[in-house]
């Protein structure tokens, strides 16, 4: 009985949250700046993190995230629902990141194998592992990097990633498989054997 009440409460809270998000979106579409600021606040971590793990540079990531939100402001009328907003933001961020990487690629080229490996002691430490993984993810080629970030940061499954990036499902799966092999190899080399 108590369990059922709790589930009802959770559903009510979720529905309330969805109603609020819907309301914020429609107010922002009507030109309410406070509502638009709320939308930015709600999604800034997602957009910024995608750009940050992609570029490995906070300033660049903030610039990219700002561009994404300005683009959102200009195209707010085309957003249909809070879910569509999330999808739209992820897609635009992905495209912006790839555009950025292509511009950067013209400036300098670093392949996965040439990239410096993180130096770390053999003993296992969480923060070192986290830092090593972030660095190695940043050395992956642009599309696999985006696929891995969307998979692990946003917890999206390959089908959702394929829709988001207009990519065949099998390409997404092979990007994920190959990237995981590279990541495992590199982390193992720099931090020692990991139990998986």
């Amino acid at each position: 009985m108590a369990n059922e009440t709790r589930i009802d409460q959770l559903i009510e809270r979720k529905e309330g949250g969805m109603q609020r998000a819907d309301d914020t979106l429609s107010r922002a579409k009507d030109g309410d700046q406070t509502a638009f600021a709320d939308l930015v606040r709600e999604h800034q971590a997602m957009v910024f993190s995608l750009a940050h793990y992609f570029s490995r540079d906070r300033a660049t990531a903030e610039d990219l995230a700002q561009e994404v939100f300005i683009h959102l402001y200009l195209h707010l009328v085309s957003i249909e629902s809070p879910a569509h907003l999330k999808f739209w933001l992820r897609r635009v961020t992905g495209h912006r990141c790839i555009d950025y990487a292509r511009k950067e690629y013209k400036k300098k080229t670093v392949s996965v194998d040439d990239a410096p490996e993180p130096v770390a002691p053999v003993e296992f430490k969480d923060s070192l592992m986290t830092e090593a993984l972030r660095r190695i993810v940043a050395t992956l080629p642009e599309k696999p990097r985006l696929v891995v970030t969307l998979r692990y940061q946003e917890d999206l499954d390959p089908t959702e990633i394929a829709q988001l990036l207009d990519m065949p499902l099998n390409t997404v799966k092979s990007h994920l498989r190959r990237s995981l092999v590279i990541l495992r190899e590199k982390v193992t080399r720099s931090l020692g054997e990991i139990k998986v």
């Binding site: 800034q44 903030e62 700002q66 939100f69 692990y152």
Partner: protein, 138 residues
């Protein structure tokens, strides 16, 4: 999810940008709005013009090339049809000429045969006349 997946999820967890991020975005939005305001004076005019404009559909850009392709197809078919008619007409004329030649040949053959027959008739008639005269003299 295995341990490595957990590590990756942990390493790539969401982070917040700098605290003034929203303010900076909103400042840029305000700048954009300032630039947009002078345009609002002519908003009613723009809306009126938009009202009379044909709908801008995604497929509209394909209409001109498609119409051009259809026109080319029709023109091509027309040329082909005309050539085919001309070819058929010439074939009919050639066939007529051939038939005419055959008739002429047949007539020539018939005429030659008639001449031969006529000659033979004349010869026979000549013999018969001479025979009857001899008998009369007797």
């Amino acid at each position: 999810m295995n341990r490595f997946d957990h590590e990756l999820t942990h390493a790539l967890s969401r982070e917040e940008p700098s605290p003034d991020f929203t303010d900076r975005v909103m400042a840029r939005v305000a700048e954009l709005q300032k630039r947009e305001k002078p345009r609002k004076k002519t908003d009613w005019l723009r809306r009126l013009a938009e009202f009379f404009q044909p709908p801008q559909l995604k497929w509209m850009k394909w209409v001109a090339p498609a119409a051009m392709a259809v026109l080319l197809l029709i023109a091509g078919f027309g040329v082909h049809h005309r050539r085919e008619n001309e070819r058929r007409r010439l074939a009919e004329i050639a066939e007529g000429e051939h038939a005419k030649e055959q008739v002429m040949l047949a007539m020539r053959i018939a005429s030659a045969k008639l001449n031969v027959a006529q000659k033979k008739v004349h010869e026979t008639a000549g013999h018969e006349d001479r025979g009857s005269k001899i008998e009369d003299r007797r």
